[in-house]
Structure formats: structure tokens, C-alpha cells
């Protein structure tokens, strides 16, 4: 997938009250290889945008195009393929499994594609200061630690686009900068596009474009 094009997307909840925005109601091209930062206040629809692109919600008007294919027309099987090979996401609410350990959460995702080796996964845990938490049940970990695990999980699959929804909201600067450099390496290696959202603090990357919702 080389391009995600948002054509006049407006969430249904907005109705007629559309504020000035560089995303909603506009035509926006997200191109592979670029880095985008979406900054906005809370409640302006950052997570909605991620849900629309990831196919979790369809309560919007307009069209989302994956290259020349309309996302609204994909069936279950095609969505699975997109989620396994083209688009990765780190949910704002993380959507991890508290019953499993941190490592198992990552392996559960990685085993679908076998994209990373066990060694590579452990290396990522190590870089993010989670080596001692690797076998801890996720439910016993702090939100910041869970966010780092979710970040690792989002890297454990092939992708052309990665959406990170407020990835550093509970993470200290030191870890945030490690995440930035890990992400930069991954993006460069894959030639992928990143879209991160933020309400203030954000991952430090050399963004090609900063958009406001």
C-alpha cells in the first residue's frame, strides 16, 4: 500500500458543525515514507480518525482510499489482510490482554506473521527498560509500561503505515526518546509512513507535516 487518501471524511457525530480542520472535510493524502503529526485538543476526533482508517468504525461520511481501493468496500478477509500486512496501529486504549504476560501479549501478535524473532522482541523490551517485566502479567504493570509493550507489539508485523494514537501520553522523556529512535529506525528500514497523534507531548521525529484537526 503506497497511499491512504482521506476524501472529505467527516465523522457523523459532527453533523453540520464542522470547524476549520486540515483533516475533516478535506482531501488528505498520506504517502508511504512520510511522517505526519496530528495535533489536536481532546475530543476533536483523533482516535475516531484512527478507528476509521483501521476499519473499526464506519460512522463517517466521505471515502477512505487505500491506493485505488475504497476501504468501505473491503470484506472481513480483506480487512484482516490489511491489518496483518499494511497497516499497524497502537491504540490509545492499548487493547492488550491483562491475563497474559507482557511478552505473551507481543508474541500473540507476532505469531500471526512471525515478523520478529524472539531475540529481536527481547531486545526491544531491553531497550525500553522492560527486561525485568517481560514475564509479568500485563495487568500488574503501570500504564506507562503497558504503553511501551503496546508500542513493541505494533512493530511486530509488516506494515506500510503505522498509526500511533497518543503513544507517549504516560511515558517519561527518556523512554519517549528511545521509542522515537526505535521508530525512526523501523520506518527507515521499511520505508513506511507514520501518523502519530498528540494532545501535547509527542514523539520527537522529523515530521514532514503537522496537521491540526
Amino acid at each position: 500500500m503506497d497511499c491512504i487518501c482521506l476524501e472529505n471524511i467527516v465523522p457523523d457525530v459532527f453533523g453540520a458543525q464542522l470547524h476549520a480542520s486540515e483533516v475533516w472535510g478535506c482531501r488528505l493524502n498520506l504517502a508511504k515514507g512520510k511522517k505526519y503529526l496530528i495535533e489536536a485538543a481532546s475530543g476533536t476526533g483523533k482516535s475516531s480518525l484512527c478507528s476509521f482508517v483501521y476499519g473499526m468504525r464506519k460512522d463517517y461520511s466521505g471515502r477512505i482510499m487505500f491506493d485505488s481501493v475504497c476501504a468501505g468496500e473491503l470484506d472481513e478477509r480483506q480487512w484482516r489482510k490489511v491489518r496483518l500486512s499494511s497497516i499497524s496501529i497502537m491504540f490509545q486504549d492499548l487493547r492488550q490482554f491483562r491475563e497474559l504476560t507482557a511478552f505473551e501479549n507481543v508474541v500473540l501478535k507476532n505469531s500471526l506473521t512471525g515478523y520478529k524473532t524472539e531475540g529481536e522482541i527481547k531486545e526491544m523490551f531491553f531497550r525500553l527498560g522492560l527486561e525485568e517485566k517481560i514475564d509479568s502479567p500485563l495487568g500488574l504493570m503501570s500504564l506507562g509500561q503497558q504503553q511501551r509493550v503496546a508500542f513493541i507489539r505494533s512493530l511486530c508485523q509488516p506494515f506500510d503505515f503505522i498509526f500511533l494514537d497518543e503513544p507517549v501520553s504516560h511515558i517519561d522523556d527518556e523512554n519517549a526518546s528511545v521509542m522515537s529512535s526505535m521508530l525512526a529506525d523501523e520506518l527507515e528500514r521499511r520505508g513506511a509512513c507514520v501518523v502519530t497523534t498528540s494532545i501535547g507531548r509527542h514523539l520527537v521525529l522529523d515530521y514532514d507535516k503537522t496537521l491540526s484537526l
Binding site: Y54, G55, M56, E76, W79, R80, R83, L84, R95, Q96, F97, E99, L100, E104, V107, L108, K109, S111, L112, T113, R153, Q157
Partner: protein
Amino acid sequence: MKLLWKLLRHHISIARFAGFSLASIIGLVIVFASIQFYCDVAPLFSGKDSLAGKEFIVISKDVDTFRSLSDGVESFCRQEIDEIRAQDFVSDVGCFTASSFEVYARIGLRADGLAMSTDLFFESVPDKFVDVESSRWEYTPGSRMIPIVLPRNYLDLYNFGFAQARNLPQLSEELISMLGINVEISGNGKEDAYQGVIVGFSDRLNTILVPESFMEYANKEYGKGNDTGVSRLIVELDKPADERVAAYFSGKGYSVSGNGDANSKMKFFLCVAVGAVAFVGLVITLLAFYILVLSIYLLIEKNIEKLRNLLLIGYSPMAVSVPYIVLVCMVNLISVVLAVPVAFLLRSIYIGLLAPLFTDVAGEAVVWIPAVILFVLLTLMNSAVILCKIYRIRA
């Protein structure tokens, strides 16, 4: 798969599944035992009989004292036979032909010459009423072999009366069929020796049957020449339970015997009783199945957020269904595997109870057939329900 199981096994209630298993085992045991019971007992009511499998009766005219004192046997005339044939509950009528010659039979039992011998008589009915392989039930004039069908109770008389009283060996049907009978036929100034071959037994007819072709030949050869007339008729019925049957024949003053429908009635009642019991078992099994479906629904509902997240990170509905399908497979398997020995236990109990009444209870052990069928069927239905439910979760 291990991780999926670790994730999805939460909320599994052992008590609920134990409840299901118990209900299911009760239902399955009833189904299995009734099917096995039917297979064991039904053959007792349908012992192989050499006379036509259809329902028939034998009718004769009542024997009264005056007739006994006068000229012998009352026989049916052509007109009476046609009238019986014309009744709409009668599908066929055959005449008994009696022998008009003398028969003397001898069975050698021991090498030392001990033998039984007796005066006998032969009768014949049209071949179509005799259910013996046609190649064994034929006689070519001049041959010295006569196929014979014996009443089974003659053998019982010998085995349980004569043999015990005289300390002689009891004979099985197979053995006596192999032994054969030496038959001497005389009359009309001739006397010849024949070899009788027992080709079958009958519970329903109290006479010694030979093929019609032999009877014709022998009556001509050794007979006194006078037509003995038809004293008994074999009547094949459409519906033996038809109440007009008894009314018609008693109205005519005919006596009815060889009534084979007692067994068929028994078999019918057996069918109904076993069917009703099996039905109850099946209903219990289906209710248990319903409990299992509800348990699985509850389990899926409790884990729905996890399932949705699994689907979101790229798991297929099929993949996340597998743990549940394996679960019901195991639970069903446990139920069936526990139900089968219980059914066999019940079988040994009723066989013990029936043994004094019947010599040869027990057909083949067939429980495993319904066991496999029900296991596959229940598991397939469970799996379909699970897949439907999971496919309905929107990622």
C-alpha cells in the same frame, strides 16, 4: 494456540460443564441402552422361520364328535376356497395337500445302532408359502432326497422331553439338519427308501412339510388313488390385526391356528416402547445440548472484548473459535465415553434378567454406532453455533 487457550479459558465454569456432562450422559445412556436393548431383544421375536415372512393363518373346519364317528375329515370345497380368497383382507390362499401313503421314518442317533423310528405323515403347501432357498426346496421325480421342513416344537419335544427322559444327547437345529432322516414310503404295493434332508424349521405350522412336487409324485406313485380333499388352508393376510379376520372365520365355523401375529404384535409393542424410551433419551440429550450451547454463549459473551481485540489484531474468526470447538469436542467426548460403559452395564443387567426366559439373548454390541453418530452430530452442531456466534462479533 496455547496463548489463545490461556486467554480464552477464563470464565470457564467447571460446574456448568459438569452439569452439562451429567445431563448429557443420562440422555445418551438412555438412547444407547434402548437401541442396544432393541437390537438384543428384537431377534427373539423374529426367529428365522421357514414359512413365508408375511402374516398368515391356518384354517380348518371344526372337528366335532359326530363327524369323528362318521366318515372322517371335513374338507373345503372349491366354492368355499374361492369365497375366502375373495375377502379383501386375504392376499393369498394355499391348500394343504395331505399324503395318501404311509411314511415310516428313522433317525440314527448313535453309532451303536440306537435309533428312533416312527410312523409319520407328510403335507405340502404351495412353494410360494415356504421361505426356503428355492434350490434347496425342490424335488425331481426319481431322486431319493426329500427336503423337509419340521415344526420347531418337534425338536423341542425331543430335546426337552424325550432326550432327557432317555438320557439321549440334545440336538441343535444345525446338527439335526446334518443328520438327515431315513424315510421309508410305502403304499400301492410299493415300498422305497428315501433320505430326508431337513432344510428348515417353522414355529408357525404344526406339520411336516415336503415340496409340492414331491407330494404330487408320491401321491401318484404310492397313493391309494382317492383324493383326500383339502382339510386345511393356509391364508396369507394383508393386515393380521384386522378385526374382521377373526369375526369372519369364527362366523363361518372355521378354527384358526398357526397364528403368527402374536410375535409381530410383540415386536410392534417392543418397537413402540423402545422408541418412546429412546425418544425421551434424545430429548434429554437435546436439552443437555442446549445447556452446552448456552454455556458456550455465556463464555463467549464474557470474553467478547478479548475476542474483539483478537479479531482486531488480525486473528481470524475461525482461529479464535478453535479453542471453543476443542472444548465442546472434549466435553462431548467425555460424555459419550462415560455413557457407553454405563449403557453396557445396563445391558449386562437386562441380559441377566432375560437369560432364564430366552436361550439366546444378545445381538451384537451396537452401542458404539449411535455413540459415534451422536458424538459427531452434537459436536458439529456445537461447532456451527460457535462459529455463527463468533462471526457475528464485529472487529
